[in-house]
C-alpha cells in the first residue's frame, strides 16, 4: 500500500469501520509514522465534533405529516376506480383535505404524547388503529380554522404542544406548501385571549 492509501484509510479507521487486512496494515503503518498518527487524531476530533453537532429535525410533526399523507394516499389508492377517474371532483378533493386535517389533528392535537421520545411501537399501533378507524373521533373545534400560523423553524414539538394547550386551540389543517397551519379554538368565547397568547409567543413567526 502507498502512503496515499494509508491516508485514505484513516477516515475509516477514525469512524471504526475498517477491518481485516486493511486495518492490520494501517495499524502497522501508524505504529511507525507519527504524522499518520497525528492526522488520525485530527480526523477523530473532526468526527467527534460532527457527531455532537445538534440537529433540529422535524420529529413528531414530520411523522404526523407523513402519516397524514400516507393515509391520504392509501385512501386514494383504495378508492374504486371510476370510468373517468383522471378527473377528480372538487367535492372529493375537499373530502380528502378534510380527512387529512382530521388525521393530522388526531395525531398532533390530542395524542402527541404517544410520540414522545419514549414512545414504543405499541403506542404507534394505537395511533395507527385510531387513524384507520372510520369513526369514533372528532375535532372538538368542529374543524374550521380560526387562525393561520407559521411556527418558527426552530420551535420544538414540546413548545408547540405547550402553546396549543395554553391558547386552547388545536391544529386542524396544514402544513401547507408554505408551512402554514390552521388552528381552531376549542372554546369559541376565548378568541381574544387565544390570539393574545399566540401573538406573544416566541415560536409563532406569522399569525393571521
Amino acid at each position: 500500500m502507498t502512503r496515499d492509501d494509508f491516508e485514505n484509510l484513516l477516515v475509516f479507521k477514525a469512524n471504526g469501520t475498517l477491518e481485516g487486512e486493511e486495518l492490520a496494515a494501517l495499524e502497522a503503518a501508524l505504529a511507525s509514522d507519527a504524522e499518520l498518527r497525528a492526522e488520525l487524531y485530527a480526523l477523530e476530533a473532526i468526527r467527534d465534533t460532527m457527531q455532537s453537532d445538534p440537529v433540529q429535525s422535524p420529529g413528531e410533526l414530520g411523522l404526523a405529516r407523513l402519516m397524514r399523507d400516507v393515509e391520504n394516499e392509501t385512501r386514494v389508492t383504495e378508492a374504486p376506480a371510476a370510468a373517468n377517474d383522471n378527473v377528480v371532483p372538487i367535492t372529493r378533493l375537499r373530502f380528502w383535505q378534510a380527512a387529512a386535517a382530521v388525521v393530522l389533528a388526531v395525531g398532533i392535537g390530542f395524542n402527541l404524547t404517544d410520540f414522545g421520545p419514549g414512545a414504543s411501537v405499541e403506542t404507534s399501533v394505537a395511533f395507527e388503529d385510531r387513524i384507520a378507524e372510520p369513526a369514533g373521533f372528532g375535532l372538538a373545534s368542529g374543524g374550521s380554522s380560526d387562525f393561520t400560523v407559521a411556527f418558527a423553524p426552530d420551535a420544538t414539538e414540546a413548545e408547540i404542544r405547550g402553546l396549543l394547550l395554553d391558547a386552547g386551540v388545536e391544529i386542524v389543517s396544514g402544513p401547507s406548501a408554505l408551512g402554514l397551519y390552521g388552528l381552531a379554538l376549542l372554546d369559541m368565547d376565548a378568541e381574544r385571549s387565544a390570539r393574545d397568547i399566540l401573538a406573544s409567543s416566541g415560536i409563532i413567526d406569522d399569525l393571521q
Partner: protein, 183 residues
C-alpha cells in the same frame, strides 16, 4: 438493528403504517442531518425528508435486501438532494470541478478547543457536494466506503478519491480558520 430494519421494510411493503412510523423514528434524525448537510436549508430538508419516507412507503416492496436498509434509504435521500440541487442549478456532475479552497496552506492537525463545530460546519460548506457527501456519510453516519459507494451509486474507487480530496481540503480549511482565530 439491521435485522430490525429489514423486518420493518417487509412490514411496510405489506402496507403496515406502524412499521413505517417505527422506521421513521429510527432513521429520521440521521437522514435529516445528511440532507441538511447537503442542502443547507432546513425547510427544504424537511420536505425532502418527507419525500424520502413517502418513497420508502411506496417502494418498500422493491427493496431487494442486498444492502442495508439504512444504505438504501440514504441512497433515496442522496438522489432526491441531487434533484433539488439540479433545480437550483448548483450541482457538480463530475469530480473535475474544484472545491472552494477557503484558506491557507499547511496541513496541520490541530483543532483548538471552542468553536470547533462552527469551524467544521463552515469548512464542510466550502467543499463541493460530492466531497461533502462522502465525508458526511463517513463521519456523521459511520459508513464504510462500500456503503458510501452504494448510497452515491459510484464505484468504491471513486469514493476513495472523493474522501481523499475532501479530507485534505477540510483539514486545510480548518487549519486556516484555527490560525486566524488564534491570530
Amino acid at each position: 438493528m439491521t435485522a430490525d430494519h429489514k423486518f420493518l421494510i417487509e412490514q411496510i411493503a405489506s402496507g403496515d403504517k406502524q412499521a413505517l412510523a417505527a422506521l421513521y423514528k429510527a432513521l429520521e434524525r440521521p437522514v435529516y442531518k445528511f440532507i441538511v448537510s447537503r442542502l443547507n436549508d432546513p425547510h427544504e430538508a424537511n420536505d425532502i425528508l418527507h419525500e424520502v419516507f413517502m418513497d420508502v412507503w411506496r417502494s418498500a416492496g422493491r427493496f431487494e435486501g442486498r444492502s442495508k436498509v439504512q444504505t438504501w434509504v440514504f441512497g433515496i435521500a442522496y438522489r432526491k438532494s441531487i434533484d433539488v440541487m439540479r433545480k437550483r442549478g448548483r450541482v457538480d456532475l463530475t469530480d473535475e470541478q474544484p472545491d472552494l479552497v477557503d484558506d491557507s496552506p499547511d496541513q496541520e492537525t490541530c483543532l483548538a478547543a471552542g468553536q470547533e463545530a462552527e469551524h467544521v460546519r463552515h469548512c464542510l460548506e466550502t467543499l463541493k457536494d460530492d466531497h461533502r457527501s462522502a465525508i458526511t456519510l463517513a463521519f456523521y453516519q459511520d459508513m464504510t466506503y462500500g456503503e458510501i459507494a452504494e448510497v452515491a451509486g459510484v464505484p468504491e474507487g471513486t469514493v476513495k478519491t472523493r474522501i481523499f480530496h475532501a479530507k485534505k481540503l477540510l483539514m486545510r480549511c480548518l487549519q486556516g480558520r484555527v490560525e486566524r482565530t488564534v491570530a
